[in-house]
């Protein structure tokens, strides 16, 4: 299959773009595979890619209920960062960041990773201390972080209300310069194409309806396209984790599904050049290359599998973005959408073997799954291939709750909606 490049674009343009080939095949499922990955979202596709690319395991099927990338990979606000507090998170997300930095080349697919910086605004001395603690934790882990004064922030982000008369005046900001945004769909498509080229079968419109087992051992799945056997079955279905696990007989699990809304304004000329987050509430915002302001806030705060939210959250988010950027009040909201989040009990993911023999689990991404995609796929593939965790996902077990070893970035405890 052709490499993508400026040259191939030119060649194809000359032939009327008639020679482009499908980005991935549309194979029928085989009766059995070495590994089945359930979930054709970003994490599942990345897992399949790294199984093939890093471990030479190519007899792999990715089973997707709908179309590839139909879950949260295409419903997020596209932020990539590793500005975490706790050492476990820092190690994981910084590993991911390093993968991101070379991802377009690795996949021969421009994922448009734009390292334009993520700036967290602090609005009180206490919040500044907490952010500085986090920034220093980053620096001690070899991650880039800077502290900006309100004056520096005002220069960097015009239009931001940095006045002293603001309801919650900006007292400083934590900047991670290497953080930024990427084109969300491109991640799914890039991994899909790259996995497909290494022989992975990507099977769309194939819903898993049950698990095949011998005793406790999982030996395959039954699907809307027939039974498929596999030595190992891996789950990467954040948003639907509980639903799929219920089909394996696991009725209770430390996950709640919540709906998170996201928003985009009409396209305007370049307005803001980095990702900005509002500390006197909960809001994150950037501008897409097309020109729309892309932003989001808190969950709707109730369990939901509907990719649809309600009005109070919409209004809260709008009031916060206007407080941050008073000129944005005049711009118009173009579209909103909802994604279903796997909210875990400490706000951190679970990437592990189990909970049944033959089963592998990747879930609990809360809001943070997009940026994690490369490291998640990498470490999950490692865990599947070697039957032991990679160093970066070793702390993200299911048993951590039993031990009291929660990885709780926000300190909100076992109240999923607050993470």
């Amino acid at each position: 299959m052709a490499e993508y490049s400026a040259l191939s674009l030119l060649k194809n343009a000359l032939s009327g773009n008639r020679d482009w080939k499908p980005a991935w095949r549309k194979p029928d499922p085989k009766p059995s595979y070495d590994v089945i990955v359930i979930g054709g979202g970003g994490h599942g596709l990345a897992t399949a890619y790294y199984l093939a690319a890093e471990h030479g395991i190519t007899n792999v099927a990715v089973l997707e209920k709908g179309w590839l990338g139909s879950g949260n990979i295409g419903r997020n606000t596209t932020i990539v960062r590793s500005n975490y507090l706790l050492p476990e998170s820092l190690r994981f997300y910084e590993f991911s960041m390093k993968l991101w930095e070379n991802l377009s080349h690795e996949l021969n697919y421009n994922v448009m990773f734009s390292q334009r910086g993520v700036l967290n605004l602090a609005h009180s001395p206490g919040q500044a201390d907490a952010f500085i603690r986090r920034g220093n934790a980053m620096r001690h882990s070899g991650v880039d972080a800077e502290w900006l004064t309100p004056q520096q922030i005002a220069r960097k982000v015009p239009g931001l209300d940095t006045s002293k008369s603001a309801r919650f005046p900006v007292v400083g900001g934590l900047l991670q310069p290497r953080a930024g945004t990427a084109r969300h769909d491109a991640i799914a498509w890039g991994y899909a194409r790259a996995a497909d080229r290494r022989g992975v079968d990507l099977i769309e419109n194939c819903e898993v309806t049950g698990f095949l087992r011998t005793g406790d051992q999982i030996t395959g799945v039954s699907t809307t396209r027939g039974e498929i056997r596999a030595k190992k079955v891996a789950l990467a279905v954040a948003g639907s984790t509980s639903r799929v696990l219920q089909r394996a007989g696991i009725e209770r699990f430390p996950i709640e599904s919540h709906v998170l809304q996201a928003f985009v304004s009409e396209a305007i000329k370049p307005f803001v050049d980095c990702v900005v987050t509002f500390g006197a509430g909960h809001l994150y915002m950037s501008q897409s290359d097309k020109g729309g302001l892309v932003f989001g806030g808190s969950l709707d705060f109730y369990n939901s599998y509907a990719q649809r939210g309600n009005l109070p959250t919409v209004e809260d988010v709008m009031s916060e973005i206007c407080a941050m950027f008073p000129s944005v009040a005049r711009l118009r909201l173009l579209r909103s959408w909802g994604g279903v989040m796997d909210m875990s009990m400490d706000g951190s993911p679970i990437i592990t073997r189990g909970p049944l023999p033959g089963l592998y689990l990747n879930c609990g991404w809360c809001y943070g799954g997009f940026k994690a995609t490369p490291a998640s796929g990498y470490s999950f593939a490692w865990t599947i291939a070697k039957d032991e965790p990679h160093a970066i996902n070793a702390p993200f077990t299911l048993s951590r709750f039993e031990r009291g070893a929660a990885i709780d970035e926000t300190g909100h405890g076992p109240i999923p909606k607050l993470h």
Binding site: A329, L333, D408
Partner: protein
């Protein structure tokens, strides 16, 4: 007067001239004109440039579906980009600018993109810009360089950084029936429901109700349709139980029949009156909803279909009938259905010249033939338009014989002269709200349109929304929908008589004519039919992949014109039917909504300010205020020329030396009353309260269910069954909610009542060796000596005749008292205490000094109780009762929670005489440049006036085991590195002698 305005006709007020500017040029129109109609009247056909190729574009529609004619409005000193000219009512002094062009609309450098053509088709950017693998542009650098330029070429209008000076507001409305759409069907529905006594709201997005009746040219009951509609509207407006909202777009259909609407209150006049909103955000909770949202016309996709001068046939008809504007001197119609014939007849009647009607169908109805005759042409059936030619404006089109059944062209293409082309690809009901409400539209093969599904919420459809395109149907279905919402059966009553008979608008299933040249599907985003086929070729065949890969339907018009044609082209490429290809789910908003409007009254007023009863005194006495949640609290009372640091050191020193006073009114206060109050407190606190004597207070600690520390504070036993609990300021709401949860859900058998009394009490803490002396000078009705008021004792007395409650407790480590009084006496008591303290030079102190004093004593606050620490981590394990269970006792002993190596509380002392810093880390070894591994962090620091050193509290791995050892403070963010000593967190007066003295 103007080249395109007919001499008579239309509903504009020709007696009133309105002056406005477009790109700086002075123009005029009439009252009742939109910017689009006024520009057309002035002969302006070029109104915008497309997103990607920067192609010149004219106005394409006459309503909310406009993809091309987007302008920036300049109003009140601010810019408002991307507003469709079809939606702007002109007023005197209106200023509009074209956008996405440089240097001018007519001559745009960005149009060079058109040369890129096939090179920059759908998805091209995924395939390139990856840059070199090595060298200075490796990684993401090359892309970011390209991105810089791509971003500048993309985007539409330019936004300001100036704050929007507008005011917005919300209105909550309740009604029995909300009717969305004020066309014939909506009006009939509203009338039927209103007559049945229902409370009705009718919302119409246009300035005037009537919808299609405004330009149909029909007669209703012998009256002009628009007159009939305005008469009915007037009747409705006179009813008490009807609220009519024009210029109001219902944009969101949420759960529980909650709908959101935007009223453009003053956008149509030059100035918003003072105190009034520019726009109003309506939240409407309706028992039932009538969706009478009408239908939108679809284009036909063919090469060159985007030229200025090409517009929808229905739009041409509307411009002629409503605004008295002719689309051109020679107009050609191109259609797959009968509605274009009505449009052609309308143009002819308005004085225009219809050059041809090109119809893809081989045969047409007799009604259509008659209309063609009326329009003065004989239709060119079995033909299609395969190309256009355009100079400044459209100059000719090319037609070719076409077989609709096979979709094949034959014979030669021949040119037809024209300066305008009106296109109709059939009509698509506006189903957005029904889809938002949770239902999936259903394809109707016969009607070649998506039709409304079975409702998932309480709504009923009416009019063209149902896919029935005729006034008779609109009248009947509107009335029935209104009756249905009123709980009544459909009526058999006579409906108004309509003339002429409506046409059958079923189109031929032709939405694309394939030929040479770019054929546009999504005009604004420049998605062409070949892009859809390219997406198909590359496997992006699901409708969502198509949308995402090509950006089809993602522009400001949200695919209102492009949705169905795009689907049709994909379905054809895949060789499947349209419903098999799928439909996308519509999401709010239906049409773009100002972000400020949804922020409504919170724009400019994000959160309420919360003040203590003594606030004004603080401000009057020079306090620098700082936010603490919603509260404002004094940070320091800086004297002239004093820095914050100098001020807090002076304040804290005064407390240790003599006496200070601080406002503690913000502490959460909860009245806990009832026979089971003590039992309840024993369960929620880790320590025991049932043993507390009346008239005494005790410090308490709460855990979460997972065993992590949650909140702390003192609770006072005022009576056998009457407690006053205090919480931290930050957690007051969360603690209240937690306690209510416990009582309602966990232990409903307990007889306990909770009432928030935070605001009932003002509180002042008096601290320092002279604190008692101050009280002795002003308190009456009780003694305050050590015997009467021992540590943790409570007395009741009076100050200045106002009752006070005094508890002897200490956060500062000094002899200290908290004096509580009713809030309305707060300032009075405060001033009395200040006066009583005068001989001792009593010093008011703020948050900073409060912090310094507690750091010296090692008392914890939110910086240490951060949601990750346990009681043991904070060396508060002495508070964990072993005699009784409590919330958190079940899980607090899990292995990782009792690990020796956890971060635990210590004190730190700066050894280099430099400041510490909240959020600085601690390392065992390292250098400023190689900071090494963190062993913990500083949670709070201050300069200790008592110890004459910079000190701090820290959470450090191992905690106590490190006492007496040295470490380095590492704060790379603030470029600070220096040696510290780790000590006990009881930094000052560890035995508490001062407090008990």
């Amino acid at each position: 007067m103007s080249p395109r305005r007919s001499t008579s006709g239309g509903l504009i007020d020709r007696t009133r001239t309105v002056r406005f500017t477009f790109d700086g040029e002075n123009l005029s129109g009439h009252a009742g004109d939109t910017l689009a109609s006024a520009l057309l009247a002035n002969g302006v056909s070029l109104m915008g440039r497309s997103f990607k190729y920067h192609r010149p574009r004219g106005v394409f529609s006459a309503g909310v579906d406009e993809p091309n004619a987007l302008v920036t409005l300049l109003r009140g000193g601010v810019r408002e980009p991307n507003i469709p000219a079809t939606q702007i009512e002109i007023y005197d002094g209106l200023r509009a600018e074209s956008q996405n062009r440089f240097p001018s609309l007519a001559w745009d450098l960005g149009a060079v993109n058109q040369l890129g053509g096939r090179l920059i088709g759908a998805g091209f950017y995924y395939k390139t810009f990856m840059g070199p693998v090595i060298g200075p542009l490796k990684g993401t650098r090359f892309w970011m360089m390209c991105e810089h330029f791509i971003r500048r070429a993309a985007g539409l209008g330019r936004a300001d950084y100036e704050a929007d000076p507008s005011r917005y507001e919300r209105v909550n409305a309740f009604c029995d029936v909300l009717v969305v759409g004020g066309g014939i069907a909506g009006l009939m529905a509203a009338e039927a429901a209103a007559k049945a006594g229902k409370r009705v709201i009718l919302a119409e997005q246009e300035p005037v109700t009537g919808g299609f009746a405004r330009w149909s040219g029909e007669t209703n009951e012998g009256k002009q349709a628009h007159e009939w509609a305005s008469n009915l509207t007037a009747r409705l407006a006179s009813l008490d139980n009807v609220r009519l909202l024009t210029r109001t777009a219902v944009w969101g259909y949420y759960d529980g029949n909650t709908l959101a609407a935007l009223e453009r209150v003053h956008d149509h006049v030059a100035r918003t009156p003072k105190g009034h909103p520019r726009q109003r955000h309506w939240t409407i909770r309706a028992t039932d909803v009538v969706l009478a949202t009408g239908a939108l016309e679809r284009p036909i996709v063919f090469p060159g279909n985007d030229r200025p001068g090409v517009m929808l046939a229905g739009a041409a008809r509307r411009y002629a009938a409503e605004f008295g504007i002719l689309p051109g001197n020679r107009t050609i119609f191109f259609t797959n259905n009968d509605s274009a014939y009505e449009a052609a007849a309308t143009i002819k009647r308005a004085g225009g010249h219809v050059a041809a009607i090109v119809d893809v169908r081989a045969r047409i109805s007799s009604a259509a033939s008659e209309l063609a005759t009326a329009a003065g042409v004989s239709p060119l059936t079995g033909h299609a338009i395969v190309g256009t030619k355009c100079g400044k404006t459209l100059s000719r089109v090319f037609v070719q014989a076409y077989d609709a059944a096979s979709g094949t062209l034959s014979g030669d293409a021949r040119p037809l002269e024209c300066d305008s082309l009106a296109v109709s690809g059939g009509w698509q009901p506006v189903l957005h709200l029904a889809s938002q409400a949770g239902a999936k539209p259903v394809w109707d093969e016969e009607k070649q349109a998506f039709l409304p599904p079975e409702p998932t919420q309480r709504w009923a459809g009416a009019g063209a929304f149902l896919g029935t395109f005729g006034t008779v149907d609109a009248l009947g279905s509107g009335r029935d929908a209104g009756l249905k919402c009123a709980g009544k059966r459909p009526s058999r009553g006579k409906l108004p008589e309509i003339a002429p008979e409506p046409l059958d608008l079923t189109p031929a299933p032709v939405l694309e004519i394939r030929g040479k040249g770019k054929a546009f599907v999504d005009f604004q985003h420049d998605v062409i039919a070949d892009d859809v086929r390219l997406a198909h070729r590359e496997g992006f065949v699901s409708v969502e992949h198509l949308k995402r890969y090509t950006t089809l339907g993602m522009a400001t018009d949200q695919g209102k014109t492009s949705n169905v044609p795009g689907l049709a082209i994909m379905a054809a490429a895949r060789g499947i039917t349209i419903p098999e290809a799928g439909t996308t789910r519509f999401r709010p908003p239906y049409s773009p909504v100002a972000i400020g409007a949804m922020a409504a009254e919170r724009y400019g007023d994000l959160k309420p300010e919360r003040y203590t009863p003594i606030h004004d005194w603080h401000v009057d006495h020079g306090a620098e205020m700082t936010p603490a949640g919603l509260w404002h609290r004094p940070l320091v009372y800086a004297a002239a020329g004093e820095t914050v640091e100098q001020a807090y050191i002076r304040e804290a020193a005064a407390v240790r030396r003599s006496v200070g006073i601080v406002d503690v009114s913000t502490l959460g206060k909860i009245a806990v009353k009832g026979p089971d109050a003590a039992t309840f407190l024993d369960r929620v606190y880790t320590n025991t309260f049932s043993t507390l004597k009346v008239g005494k207070a005790r410090y308490g600690l709460m855990l979460r269910e997972d065993g992590i520390a949650f909140d702390d504070g003192t609770t006072w036993r005022l009576g056998e069954t009457d407690f006053l609990m205090t919480t931290t300021t930050a957690n007051a709401g969360a603690v209240m909610q937690h306690l209510e949860y416990c009582l309602d859900i966990l232990w409903p058998e307990l007889k306990v009542h909770l009432t928030s009394v935070t605001d009932q009490w003002a509180g002042a803490a008096i601290a320092g060796p002279k604190a008692r002396a101050v009280l002795e000078r002003c308190v009456t009705g009780t003694r305050v000596d050590n015997e009467t008021l021992p540590f943790m004792g409570i007395v009741h007395g009076e100050i200045e005749g106002a009752p006070v409650m005094i508890c002897r407790l200490s956060f500062s480590g000094e002899l200290a008292y908290e004096v509580y009084c009713a809030a309305g006496y707060g300032t009075l008591i405060w001033e009395a205490l200040m006066e009583a303290g005068e001989p001792f030079d009593i010093t008011p102190y703020g948050m900073e000094a409060l912090g310094a004093l507690r750091i010296e004593k090692g008392h914890v606050t939110g910086a240490e109780i951060d949601g990750r620490t346990t009681a043991r981590d904070l060396y508060l394990d002495w508070m964990l009762s072993k005699k009784k269970p409590f919330i958190g006792s079940g899980l607090m002993d899990r292995p990782a929670l009792i690990d020796k190596n956890r971060l635990r509380l210590v004190g730190v002392i700066s050894l280099d005489g430099q400041k510490l810093g909240g959020g600085a880390h601690l390392v065992e070894r390292g250098t400023p440049d190689e900071p090494g591994e963190s062993i913990g962090h500083v949670t709070a620091f201050c300069y200790s006036p008592a110890l004459q050193k910079y000190i701090g509290l820290a959470l450090v791995r191992g905690g106590k085991a490190r006492h007496g050892t040295r470490a380095y403070l590492s704060d790379p963010l603030r470029k600070r590195f220096g040696q510290v000593e780790i000590v006990s967190h009881h930094l000052f007066d560890p035995d508490g002698e001062r407090m008990h003295g």
